[in-house]
Symmetry: C2
Subunit: 313 residues, 2 copies
Amino acid sequence: MSFQLPPLTATRVFEAVARHLSFTKAARELGMTQAAVSYQIKLLEERVGAQLFLRHPRHIELTEVGQRLAPAITDAFAIIGEAYSAARSGAEGVLCVSTILTFASNWLARRLGAFQMAYPSLAVRLDTSSRLIDFAREDVDIAIRSGGGKWPGTETHKLFSADFTPMLSPALAASIGGVHKPADLLRLPIMDPGDIWWKEWFKLAGVDAGELASRTASSMGAQMYEASAAIAGHGVAILTRELFQAELADGRLIQPFDLVGDDGHSYWLVYPTSRRNVPKIKAFREWLLAEVETSRKENTEARRAAEVARASG
Amino acid sequence: MSFQLPPLTATRVFEAVARHLSFTKAARELGMTQAAVSYQIKLLEERVGAQLFLRHPRHIELTEVGQRLAPAITDAFAIIGEAYSAARSGAEGVLCVSTILTFASNWLARRLGAFQMAYPSLAVRLDTSSRLIDFAREDVDIAIRSGGGKWPGTETHKLFSADFTPMLSPALAASIGGVHKPADLLRLPIMDPGDIWWKEWFKLAGVDAGELASRTASSMGAQMYEASAAIAGHGVAILTRELFQAELADGRLIQPFDLVGDDGHSYWLVYPTSRRNVPKIKAFREWLLAEVETSRKENTEARRAAEVARASG
DNA sequence: CATAGCTATAAGCTGTCTTTATGAGTCATG
DNA sequence: CATGACTCATAAAGACAGCTTATAGCTATG
């Protein structure tokens, strides 16, 4: 099809002129000068090989050829215009968030309702893949990742530190008469003992935990599984506080020590720099950052209260 | 409508890429490099605010937004393409010729049948206006004009000289015992005596025709009316030979003298330079020029024969 | 008549788009 | 595995389309 269409710029100009039947008005609509319009029409007429307008002193008129052409061209541009706005608004209605499983289940799920209340026209599609997602390859608008916070071509906002501290069920702690010092933990089953976080934390605690094998990375993304086991009393897990705020608050888990490790990694909100101004992305970003801020304050509050309680109790 | 459509160049590129699902192939189709395609797509994606293609290692894929967009865009371009070719071929089917009345009736009409036999798909619309036509203002493809042969922006081909010589009916000549020398004409009614052609011709003949008033221009275009009167025997007309070949041949008119005036004006085929390659114009031009050539040869032949007949008779 | 309103044209500049050249990633293959 | 073939991305530089400015010409209108 369409072997060498006439220049589209000129076609666009023709469409406007045909509607207005005036070079001057068309120029105004298109935001260019009358001379430019004249130039384009002349160009198109030479290309088509036929006069498109008859020039009369104070007005112009479509030639037969022009009359045949104009309605179709106008239609075509209308279709293009509609297609773009439909595509845009269609896409505007669905926000696809790729997130780490634990973050989704232990942090986002609880709060997402509020976002949907605030933006009823926006449907959120959660994609909980553990892979690092690549915006160039997947149909994703925004993502939550953990890591160092530097990815090329992306805008990032820190949500909270991926810190880590041991947690366990009150019952398990009671089974050995309470956990009083870090070394006590070694008397209990350690969930995922190969996680580098354990090694780091024990080092921080000044405890020799040489027997623990250690991998180079942490299994952050899968904290949820270890957490479930810990809640069931099967062992001690090393978890990120922010993600288990609820469990700590209602006592399903306890955090025996204030000592918290931090290897500099964090949870980040990430999206392509080029899309920073897309409304739905902006909306989600602003909501999420505000939500993080609120949560941070609440937790600070809660910890202070807990501390006071411990001190006085 | 269409407040700032995304750039059409990019849209065009998008259309091709969406069809091929390949930047490289689209580039080939569009006659540009793969880099240019990549650039345009990136541009469009930023403009739309959404990824349009997912980049996989050896192939690409439309995103949701892209899928919504592609069919409409393809349709739109198909419409544009069809519109252009329809307009062109529609216009190709009708050739509008603007011609001087005398030329149409006394020269073209007789020969036009042959053209229509040769190009059965081309309808010819004759527009016999006496005005000088302006291609910018009238829906005319090609014209026959008389004059000096220089009009700006047009291509011209000389058809034949607008020469002039007296002609009259045999009966009228016989009424004064035959016309033997130029001065004899003055004893007969002169059709349109103010025509400058008369003055010129008598001057050429060495006859003092001082009593004839003279305008500055000739009434070339209206020769037919004078000719009709001359055929009816009402007087002597000064006419262009080429246009009355038939009348001279069948004896309705006679040309008493070989003496022919020529003020340098001619009949011309004229069309806008910019349209010189339009097929229907090319076809008509070539046919007409060939026809003129044939006619010229025939006339030369006929005159020679007449001369021989006179000499020997 | 003179003015206002329209299009045409010429010349020059600007910015878009294109090319060239290169890189980087992935799949097939011996 | 290592290599080659094929993909898209990117950077830099160049070309040229298309825009603007400025001016002229035309004609209906008051």
